[in-house]
């Protein structure tokens, strides 16, 4: 049938439909960041971290931050740069073994640290993105992680109640993005990045390639632009390798 309820878009230039999320640079992207805020950072180790946003945070030297990130960088890169300047009040992470300064600040009590299971970290981000306030997971039952949390049996197995994060800004690194905020990630640099999009009030994305709309296959977008508030092309990506392991050529 030719429906009476036809979507006509009379005369409208269809390109104007998409909502443009681009900002000029990292400085504009970080507009509104303040002392004592809570941030989520994508990345696993040094892979897929938002290098440009971190550099800008270092430059601004805002303090008292609560940072949610799987790792805490290394001493001189990633979130380690914020630790050096004592910008971080509290870290929520799953593994921080690569960072001596972190360990020193934690053991001395300067830095507040909440270590949580990696899958729980990912799921608490995804829950924030998805409007799920809380969920049950078996991870951490019977350990320090369950302290102060509700536990409950489902199907004869004990679980812990975990809550969605509540963050002010999310800092994300994607491989390619378009001006409408649609994102594509590469390899294991994907990691927590997609789960953190839309998990904070404002999601800031830095990309290696910023494309016009229509360049990405709509079937192959990892994160639709609706989860992104600001996108910019990163000025510089070092992409440092943490453990360079190779095999000899035969």
């Amino acid at each position: 049938m030719i429906s009476a309820f036809s979507f006509v878009f009379f005369g409208k230039q269809i390109f104007s439909f998409m909502i443009n999320k681009t900002v000029a640079n990292v400085s504009e992207a970080l507009d509104g960041v303040k002392d004592n805020m809570t941030f989520v950072f994508g990345g696993f180790g040094l892979s897929g971290i938002p290098e440009n946003s971190i550099a800008e945070l270092v430059k601004r030297n805002i303090k008292g931050l609560t940072c949610i990130s799987n790792n805490a960088g290394v001493d001189d890169f990633g979130l380690g740069l914020l630790l050096q300047q004592r910008q971080i009040k509290k870290m929520i992470s799953s593994y921080v073994g690569e960072n001596d300064e972190f360990e020193r600040q934690m053991l001395s009590g300067e830095l507040e640290v909440e270590l949580i299971p990696q899958g729980t970290l990912a799921e608490r981000c995804r829950a924030a993105q998805a409007g799920i306030p809380a969920f049950y997971t078996p991870a951490g039952y019977g350990t320090e992680v369950e302290e102060g949390k509700e536990t409950r049996a489902f199907n004869g197995k004990m679980h812990v109640l975990e809550h969605a994060f509540d963050a002010d800004f999310g800092f994300i690194k994607a491989w390619k993005g378009d001006v409408a905020g649609n994102l594509v990630f590469k390899g294991t640099a994907r990691n927590f990045n997609p789960n953190m999009c839309g998990a904070a009030k404002i999601t800031v994305v830095e990309v290696e390639e910023l494309l016009p709309v229509g360049e990405l296959d709509p079937n192959q977008i990892h994160i639709p632009g609706i989860f992104v508030q600001r996108i910019f092309k990163g000025a510089h990506f070092e992409k440092r390798i943490e453990q360079r392991t190779v095999r000899p050529r035969k």
Partner: protein
């Protein structure tokens, strides 16, 4: 008095620059045709598409590209497809800015009923319960009275609810109303409709303050 197209035209004025909008089946679907041309808006359909475009040209229909009303559609450059869980992440996570949907009944405290007539019509709620439970900005598009002439704006809903205290605004063939703590606040009259006409057609508490302007469409 407005026809369905008129209701859609009036609601289109509520669509602001930068909005992601979910349109329900029926009158809401029409809204897309009347959105201002100088603003950026994207339409989401809960079956898994953002950036919906017009219906396809004849012969270009694709069974794999439909909207939530199961109609064949197209997508615009910059569109994306995604799975149902992610679609409802958008909705439940309050990433969609405006939800426009139809209703069988709305109560003066913003409850909505639109999915079931016990013993008669049992089509199901589809995505409506997720939408009304999470959306911060819900506009109902409907006729002011049902086919039997009874008001659909009630003190309390008689049908099973879809959601509680969620409707913010209602656009009918007779009026634009805001749901307030004290009931339906009359904002605008449809062309040629008097305040008395609206009073007669409204069973819930109707708040009339000052002069009620006629809609501009």
């Amino acid at each position: 008095m407005l026809d369905k197209t008129g209701i859609a035209k009036r609601i289109a004025q509520e669509v602001k620059d930068g909005y992601y909008v979910n349109l329900g089946i029926g009158i809401p679907t029409l809204v897309a045709n009347f959105v201002r041309e100088d603003i950026e808006v994207e339409f989401q359909s809960e079956n898994g598409v953002l950036g919906m475009g017009p219906f396809p040209f004849e012969g270009e229909e694709d069974a794999d590209i439909i909207n939530a009303g199961k109609q064949t559609i197209t997508t615009l450059p910059g569109a994306s497809f995604f799975d149902s869980a992610m679609s409802f992440s958008m909705i439940r996570g309050q990433h969609v800015d405006l939800t426009i949907l139809g209703a069988m009944e709305v109560s003066e405290n913003g409850d909505i009923a639109n999915w079931k007539i016990p013993g008669k019509m049992v089509k199901g709620m589809g995505g409506a319960m997720d939408l009304v439970a999470s959306a911060e900005n819900i506009i109902v598009a409907m006729m002011h009275t049902n086919r039997a002439g009874a008001s659909k704006l009630l003190k309390s809903c008689s049908l099973p609810l879809t959601g509680v205290g969620c409707v913010k605004k209602i656009v009918t063939n007779l009026a634009v109303l805001e749901v307030t703590e004290d009931g339906f606040k009359l904002l605008e009259r449809a062309p040629g409709v008097s305040v008395e006409d609206i009073e007669k057609a409204t069973a819930g508490n109707l708040i009339i303050e000052g002069n009620i302007p006629e809609m501009k469409i």
